[in-house]
């Protein structure tokens, strides 16, 4: 647990100088004590003030991952990759992050491709092996989603419902929303506390992103 006075001191520094690099240190400390919402706000503001600093986007991505905001995490990892130069260890971390995001969004092929890129970017074989093991341990949401989509298509056919637009699974603690896209399906999983309407908006955005080819 970080000392409260360190957080107070950095908050004071940031209040005096909102552009201070202390923002990232403050965000790390806030995250360390479990205040991820506040940490992410601080990190996001820092990234907006310093859009060319890869470390700011790296922190935003990691915090978005902790909140399972896969879309935001993906975008932040992409910024890290566009900013971090060859040899920067953040590149490997960003590819590992993108692999996990792709996996959670039900795109195992994209996850595997990202792991390959992580290896090429210098991730240690142990780190890549650990990432693969983690994905295996968490199951294959892509496979379950594929099976559900097959059942939806079967139901739509037999009941004369026409082309399906979306399927939503509300569950205790999680929503999963799936929609067809030009390149398969888009899957969005969200905490149940997130309003369903917001989840569906994120699903729409995911469908558009996949159609635009903007997602690895």
């Amino acid at each position: 647990m970080p000392p409260p006075d360190a957080i107070r001191r950095l908050s004071d520094v940031l209040a005096r100088d909102p552009g201070s690099p202390a923002a990232l240190e403050l965000a790390e400390l806030l995250a360390g004590r479990g205040d991820v919402d506040a940490a992410r706000r601080v990190a996001t503001q820092a990234a907006a003030r310093h859009p060319l600093r890869a470390e700011a986007h790296d922190l935003v991505a990691r915090l978005a991952m902790r909140q399972e905001d896969w879309r935001a995490a993906h975008e932040a990892w992409c910024r890290v990759l566009s900013l971090a130069g060859a040899g920067d260890a953040r590149r490997a971390g960003a590819w590992l992050g993108r692999a996990y995001v792709a996996f959670r969004e039900g795109r195992p092929d994209a996850a595997e491709e990202a792991l390959t890129q992580a290896e090429a970017a210098g991730a240690s074989p142990d780190a890549v092996a650990a990432a693969r093991a983690r994905l295996r341990a968490e199951g294959t949401p892509g496979a379950a989603a594929t099976a559900l989509v097959a059942a939806v298509e079967q139901a739509a056919h037999h009941l004369g419902l026409g082309a399906w637009r979306q399927v939503v699974v509300e569950a205790d603690g999680r929503h999963v929303a799936i929609a067809p896209s030009e390149r398969g399906v888009a899957v969005v999983a969200a905490p149940a506390e997130e309003p369903l309407g917001l989840t569906l908006r994120r699903l729409d955005a995911a469908v558009r992103a996949v159609a635009a080819g903007g997602h690895a």
Binding site: L148, H158, L161, A171, R174
Partner: protein, 117 residues
């Protein structure tokens, strides 16, 4: 709950605008238990496909870290299907595009509570 009670619960669902029928399915084998589907909609078919769909949705929910699925809704060009598990049963509503899915979802949850009471 008797067969008449089941039917009464299903009829309450079909009073929603655009709902063309509701049925209670044994989720283990996809056999209908009670139905108020409109003429022309085959209850056996709806029951079979809905049971499979709900089973697959449960798997997706578990893979996402949940213990079980709740309401599942499918929206399509010419209608919708909503389902919710109730023990071994699955309560299913089929609707046409006139249906308000948010209201249908609430009606389904009300019917679900009646079934479990």
């Amino acid at each position: 709950m008797t067969g008449a009670d089941y039917t009464g619960t299903l009829r309450a669902l079909t009073r929603q605008r655009g709902v063309s029928g509701a049925l209670l399915v044994d989720g283990r084998d996809g056999i209908p238990i009670a139905s108020t589907l409109d003429v022309g909609i085959d209850a056996d078919t709806v029951a079979a496909v809905a049971a499979v769909l709900y089973d697959r949705a449960r798997q997706v929910a578990r893979d996402a870290g949940a213990t079980d699925a709740g309401v599942v809704h499918v929206e399509a060009a010419r209608g919708a299907l909503c389902a919710v598990g109730a023990g071994d049963f699955v309560l299913v509503a089929v609707a046409d595009p006139r249906a308000n899915l948010a209201l249908l979802r609430l009606a389904l949850l009300r019917a679900h509570r009646r079934l479990l009471a």
